[in-house]
Amino acid sequence: MSYVQFLRLRKALTIYGIVVGGLFLIGLTVGHSPDAVFELSDGSYHTTQSMTSIPMSGLLFFAAWCAIVFATVVSTSLNKEYDGVEMVWTKPIARERLAVFYILLDFAAIIISFLFAAALSVLAIASIGASKYLTVDSRTVPTLVIGLGAAFMWYGLVQGLTAGQRGRGSMVIGISWGAAFLLILLAEATSGISPPIHLLSTIINIFNPLAYFSSYSLSNYGAHSSPVLPQALAGTEMRSVLTWTIGILGCAAAIAGWKRLEV
């Protein structure tokens, strides 16, 4: 029943693979040098010779970013069906069941996009002979859980906002990226922003996937003087639970909206 969505995702993953793989190839070709300099998650700089360890969390952070981009691209799958809805809604399957299949397929594709980027990162490290320095650090699991959680949260939020309406899916994706960065900027600004606006932006950031993920950025991890989320959400466990919960709620809203939609 979700054959068309399978074909759609296969096409999206192929394009994603070509783009990400191509970028990696270009990066390796241009940047491959015995004296290549790497910036690690703790902010320190190393060359291949001086390197002592490469934290896995750094690679997963990159892979999660790729998965987040891919997740937003596929996050309007239910909205996209509006044009052919007479075709899918006249198949012998309940709408909500079909929507669940779509979401599960999308999620599987998001994980594939994550694994693909992670594998490419490992390959890149191996290609410069540094794979022996790759270590599983303490932030590996949180980066994995929150990174994929942020991707799923973004997917769920866009899906929830667009599934019950006709068209405008791409517009919502674009606005969501703009809003996400703007809210991070407002929350991170330490001067020129009045405290109430700063507080408001940190509260709104509860629904901003980037806010959960930015704390794990390679360059600023642990260095936040101005948290982008309310202090109550500082814990890794709380952030993990929230990203996945908001993602699930967004998907539930999407299914309900899709079921109610009339054409």
Binding site: M1, Y3, V4, L7, K11, D83, G84, V85, E86, M87, W89, T90, K91, P92, I93, A94, R95, R97, E262, V263
Partner: protein, 303 residues
């Protein structure tokens, strides 16, 4: 238990805000029959179909297929061809067939291939590169390849050339001969007259004509008089309560008669025409009579 009606629409009303798209429509279609739904644009045909198959919800009334409102399982045996193309432009014809194969237990690949060949469709061609008529043809192939018991077709011959239009009518008739119930709309009155055994005409969301084609054709007559010279003035004919309307065309006068066609023929004979004949209405006459003015509902015999 087999329901008496394959499709039963009762007291169906659909409003969009203050606009009433369909008003209190009751229409019952017997199993194995072909019902043609006619009406000008905006008369409520597509809205009726959409509510029948659950794409939109009725404001009031019931719409049943084989005795119950449409459920997901209903679509194992109900096929719908929408007025506008709902195909995926980026997929090929073969992809669409595969989608159908995976979706229906009743999918008949042999039948699908026969229909693809009949409409001369290229399996590997993307639907986005097909003409409007070929879009319709693909939609028909998908609908007929599951050998449905109920076929709901909204403008099924739209965009097709006359040869393929004829093929579509043949397929509709063939499906009904095989036991399927067909409910279809069309602007081509000739198509409906040829295929349908039952006709319903909608105007402004209201059912104004409903009956078998034969009973509707026999319900009124046309008295046609041909003169050697110009048609003479026949005083008071247009105002005669037995006459619906009068048409003059060259040396021919046609009176559309509600009752006593013999009496009207006798009256025209007084003007010494070359020939006077009493004819059955054709479906186009019935349609024009029905939608041309504010006319009360004409009820023919049920099938």
């Amino acid at each position: 238990m087999i329901p008496k009606h394959a499709v039963a629409i009762r007291d169906f009303t659909k409003r969009y805000g203050s606009f009433e798209a369909v008003s209190n429509l009751t229409l019952e279609v017997e199993p194995g029959s072909i019902c043609g739904l006619l009406g000008p644009n905006g008369s409520g045909k597509t809205t009726t179909f959409k509510c029948l198959i659950g794409l939109t919800r009725p404001t009031s009334g019931t719409l049943d297929v084989e005795g119950a409102p449409v459920q997901p399982e209903t679509f194992e045996t109900l096929a719908y061809v929408p007025e506008r193309s709902a195909l995926y432009e980026w997929l090929t014809v073969a992809d669409h067939l595969e989608f159908n194969r995976r979706s229906y237990k009743t999918y008949d690949s042999k039948r699908a291939n026969e229909l693809v060949d009949l409409f001369r469709l290229e399996r590997k061609k993307k639907v986005g590169k097909l003409s409007k008529g070929q879009h319709t043809a693909v939609a028909l192939v998908l609908a007929l390849s599951i050998r449905p018991r109920i076929l709901v077709l909204d403008e099924p011959a739209s965009g097709l050339d006359p040869v393929f239009q004829r093929s579509v009518l043949d397929l509709i008739i063939e499906a009904a001969a095989g036991g399927a119930t067909v409910l279809f709309s069309s602007h081509q009155i000739g198509q409906v007259e040829r295929a349908a055994d039952r006709v319903a005409i909608l105007k402004n969301g209201k059912l104004i004509v409903d009956g078998t084609v034969d009973s509707l054709k026999g319900s009124e007559k046309v008295v046609e008089a041909i003169f050697d010279q110009a048609v003479p003035a026949v005083d008071g004919l247009a105002n005669d309560p037995r006459v619906r309307r009068v048409e003059r065309s060259g040396r021919i006068l046609r009176a559309y008669v509600k009752e006593d066609s013999d009496g009207i023929a006798r009256r025209l004979n007084e003007f010494s025409p070359k020939n006077v004949s009493i004819l059955d209405l054709n479906l186009e006459d019935i349609f024009i009579n029905a939608v041309g003015g504010e006319i009360p509902m004409v009820k023919g015999d049920a099938a």
